[in-house]
Amino acid sequence: MNRRTILTLLFTYSILYPACAQEKATKTIGLREVYIEGGRYKKSAEGAMSIDVLTSDSLQKYQAGSLMQTLSRLPGVNTIGIGASQSKPQIRGLGFNRVATVENGIKHEGQQWGLDHGLEIDQYSIGTAEIIKGASSFMYGSDAIGGVIRLSSPAELQENGLKGHINLFNRSNNGTYGGSLQLQGKNGNWFFGGGVTHLGYADYRVPTDIVYVYNYAVRLKDRQVRNTAGQETSFQLRGGYVSDRFSSIFYLSNYHTKIGFFANAHGLEPRGVDTVLYDCSDRDILYPSQHVNHFKLISRNYIAQDAHKIWMDLGYQRNYRQEFNNYTAHGYMPPVYPQDMNIPMNLERLYDKEIYHMTLKDEFALATHRLTIGGNVEYQRNNIDGWSFLIPSYRQKALGVFIYDQYPINEQTTLYGALRYDHSNIHSSPYQDWFASKLENNQSAHILRADELHRSFNSLVWSLGATRQMGSWEAKLNVGKSFRAPIAQELAANGVNYHYFSYEKGNPSLSPEQSYQMDLSVARRTGNTYIAFTPFFNYFSNYIYLNPTSGYDQYYGAGNQIFEYSQSKVRRYGAELKVEYRPLTHWKIELLGEYIRSEQLSGSKKGYTLPFSPAPSLVLDLSWSPKSSTYFKEPYLSLDSKWTASQKHIVPPEEKTKGYQILNFRAGTQLILGKSALQLRLQVQNIFNTRYMDHTSFYRLISLPEQGRNIILSVGIPFGTQNRT
């Protein structure tokens, strides 16, 4: 499947379907249908945006190594991944700090900028995942410039009772064993819920014996990626009081992960390791490794009076990340770690971030307008430690005020408008090397890597949208301006990036990114067909980009190539296509396509694309869900084939990536045993153990193929007083 074919296909659809029309477009994802009325978002500020919804049932059906890998089946959603279990969201080609992940109303804050930093959220604790494609800065402020992943805990029970399920799962590729217990109860207006998940996995397998890490040949034992084993433990607790007039809910969660990095590809250059030590067990986690703990406490409240509904959300998060490695001197660091250092010898880097968040808003009706006025404040404190430096400690304050208007003109047409003002300031601390470097004049000095920095940013953004329904058609149009304030990494980084083998240099004079976008969504639902086409266009007047320069730095960068943050004009466009067709009662054909093209229009990389540009892809899925029988309820079988085109649009230091095709199989059923029903699911991902590279995978840079065949088995055991089959 080449790019031109996909493009033609998308273009054809775009012109074929006139931009008008529609009535209650029902969306459905997953086999056990959960119809999401198009009207669901009619009264929300995001009504004019293109939104996909996945329920926990679908999340389990498509379960992959991480939450984002599970979501990435949706067109327009990709992951920037590192290995089998760490990945972060990418929406329409934008990722890192350009996608906001919001959990229970509060923006999830970790160290999103890091290539090797996954999303610290337990995928088994999610009730609903919504993906808002397109800039949503007007709702969530900076970071939502590329889109939003909005996660919610499972909805409370409809009736009084106590209900839960145990989910046990196993993935063959990296020998994952895990279990999750989810529980919830309700008594009148009071409810509670919670869960515990634990999983462990070994080094993952790839279909190759040798990997060439920047020309250095690394032999893999048993085709396993050395030292990528890990563990994950998390728990959640929530509870509160809910009524129409008043609600107060708290969410408490803690996520902990411990995972190794591919030992041959971490550091200043590819490294040989002691294979006797590293290969004696595929489950041990040796150096380099990372330990991350994410704690979160959220309180969501509302009070409804007359025409007003006043919300208050409070949040506290702490992201504690430690990166361990054997001390490796580089540049002018002493060859042996000094005894008198306060920093532990194996602590390469540490980031300790605390975030306080508050949102206050009032939703009310004024004539036929539905208005929301509100504001939010956020305070972040980020401390660092470790013998290696990349970004300084900083404090950051942000304030935003907004107004949304949702104005139904008639039954078919609704207009949306939003205006938002943001102010933020960042104060980063100076940092000086703990060791002396030899300068050009033969003198020795502890060089200053980061100067103290104070910056403040102001932004005014707006958004205008419209939805129109006519017959079976629904059209949505949204235009707007978005922004993103530069982050500490972009302003003040000054150190070696151990994954890129590069020296990263911040630029303290960066201005906030300004982006203009237009999103269109045209959808149609008839008896047995659903079709949705969602093209977009986006222009950045000053996209912040890590530019690989032609220079090397012998002091700060220990002789590595200088990658410097700079800004350029960028144009992006693309589209997603989603078709569901039911030729017969028990059969469904699904087609999911995506295309994205980015181009830098100015600066030193003029004419180049942006890094990690996803290649065009198309998923064709054929599902069969036979009738339930006495013992098997809601059984399903599905085969999906994913074609990904080659990615020839690259920017240094990327490599062109070849196209590939992979086949996945899924099957499942509820097995009726007396009064209860076991939920059995099977997946075979990459059936033919195809060797392929994913252009948006971090390990693409070192030519490490993606995971080979992976058989995923899960058993869900429900229990409780509400559980009836």
Binding site: L7, T8, F11, Y332, V336, S550, Y552, Y608, P652
Partner: protein, 165 residues
Amino acid sequence: MIKINIHMQTLKKYALMAIIAASTIACKKDKENIDTEKPTIDISAGTAFPKQCSQIRRGSSFTFRAKLSDNVALGSYSIDVHHNFDHHSHSTEVEECTLEPIKKPIKPFVLVKSVNIPGQPQQYDAQFQIDVPADVDPGNYHFMIQVTDQSGWSIQRGISVRITE
């Protein structure tokens, strides 16, 4: 039926337009002239130094020589010499050199040097004189050469050398 026919005709017309539009965009893309090639480091010439498993006597001087080239314009090069007493061996060369037993560094030789290549040439004969002090630890070392071009593409070579007494 007529309505369907009209619809079909419109469909065909639009499909054709779409194909034309798509191919126009595709063609436009092909014309863009951006550099997607990495520079190269050539150490095959007889005068090139050091080569894989070269020996260098401490207290002496030697000249690093390599032939650098790029399809458009070279940027700069960097050399980095560090010890391999821990056998971390990330040599990019096929030939393996004999390694001394693992040992602790006392005063290892360290050199980090970056040089801008003047005039943005396509070919450049890099030459750089390196003095090895007489008091550095002898043993296995790595000699890393990295080269960039003006577009920011880079390439590296890792050569194993040995500093002798």
